[in-house]
Symmetry: C2
Subunit: 186 residues, 2 copies
C-alpha cells in the first residue's frame, strides 16, 4: 500500500540529464543548473540517483548505450572496398551530429587519466570497438585473432578526430583518411 513508485520519472530525468551533459560537457557539471534546466530540483536528483557521482555514472552509461544503439543501427554495411568501408566509418563518426558524443568521449578519457579510479571500465570501452571493426576489416587482417589491425584503424580514426575537433580542418583530415585507406588496401 501507500503511494506507488514512479520509476518512469527517474528514466525521464536520466534521458534529459544525458542530453544536458552531451550539450554542456562533464567538467563544470553542477546539480543546481542541471536541475533548473531539467525543470526539477537538486533535491529530486539526489532522491532519484543518490549522489552526484551516481548520477554521472548513470548519465555516462546512458550516453554509451545511446552510442552503441546508433552505431549498430546506422553504421554503413561492411561491404565494398576497404576505402569505402573506412570512409563510411569516418563519415559516420566525424559527422556533426556525433560531435557531442565525441566531445564527451574525449572528456571522459582525459578525466580518466587524472582519476583512473573513477573509470574502472575505461580500457573496456576502447577495446569494445574491436569486435565491430575486426569484423569489418577481416580481409585486411592477418587472422581472426588479429587485434593489431583494429587497433591501428581505431587509432587513425581517433587521432584524426582529435585533429578535426581541435583544428576544424575537415579537408586535411579527410584526405589523411583517404591516404590511410590507400595504404591499407595494399
Amino acid at each position: 500500500m501507500g503511494r506507488p513508485a514512479d520509476p518512469a520519472r527517474r528514466d525521464r530525468t536520466l534521458a534529459r540529464a544525458t542530453d544536458y551533459v552531451l550539450a554542456h560537457g562533464l567538467a563544470g557539471l553542477s546539480l543546481r543548473p542541471l536541475a533548473a534546466a531539467l525543470e526539477t530540483s537538486p533535491r529530486m536528483l539526489l532522491y532519484d540517483f543518490g549522489s552526484k557521482q551516481e548520477l554521472v555514472a548513470a548519465v555516462l552509461a546512458e550516453a554509451r548505450r545511446r552510442g552503441a544503439v546508433r552505431l549498430a543501427g546506422q553504421l554503413p554495411a561492411a561491404t565494398g572496398s576497404v576505402q569505402e568501408r573506412l570512409r563510411g566509418i569516418w563519415a559516420w563518426i566525424s559527422a556533426d551530429e556525433r560531435a557531442p558524443f565525441v566531445r564527451l568521449f574525449f572528456e571522459v578519457h582525459a578525466d580518466g587519466l587524472v582519476h583512473p579510479e573513477n573509470y574502472p571500465d575505461q580500457g573496456q570501452a576502447i577495446t569494445d570497438w574491436f569486435d565491430t571493426l575486426g569484423a569489418t576489416f577481416r580481409d585486411v587482417s592477418t587472422g581472426p585473432e588479429d587485434t593489431v589491425t583494429p587497433t591501428l584503424v581505431m587509432a587513425v580514426v581517433r587521432g584524426l578526430l582529435f585533429d578535426l575537433t581541435a583544428t576544424g580542418d575537415r579537408h586535411r583530415t579527410d584526405r589523411a583518411l583517404d591516404r590511410f585507406a590507400g595504404l591499407l588496401r595494399q
Copy 2:
C-alpha cells in the same frame, strides 16, 4: 628608489606551479592547495599572476615551452628507415617520462572542446608538429607542400597514445605502430 622588484620569484613560482599541474592535472586545480604545495600563499599567486586564469595560461605556456625544448633536444635524428624513425618518435612520446605531458595535452584538448574561447591557439599547437614531421618523413611525402602525410602520422601517434593511456596495453599499441610503419614503407 624603494625596494627593488624580484622577478625571479615569479619565475620560481611558475616553474614549481608547472611541476604541480603536470603532476596533478588542470581540472581540479585550486589556488589554496597549489599555494600550500608551493610553500606560498594564494595572495602571492594573485600578486604575481593577476588572476587564476592568467596563472593557468602562464603554466600552459611554460609546459609547452618545456615540451618544445625536450622535443628539439631529445627526438631521435631523422635518419634510418621509415620504421626506425617512426619507432623513434613513438618510443620518445610514449615513454613514461612523457606521461605527465601527454596527460596535460589530452586534458587541454578536452577542455578546449568545451571552452574553445579559452584556447585561441589550439589549432596552432596541432599543426605545429607538421614542420618537424614534414621534415622527418619527406621521402614518403608526395611533395614539400604535403600536409597529408604529417597529418596521418600524427593521427596514428596520437590515436595510439590515446589507446595506450586508456588501456595500458603497450604490446598491442607497439605492434600497431609497427604495422603502420610497414604500410608506410611501400
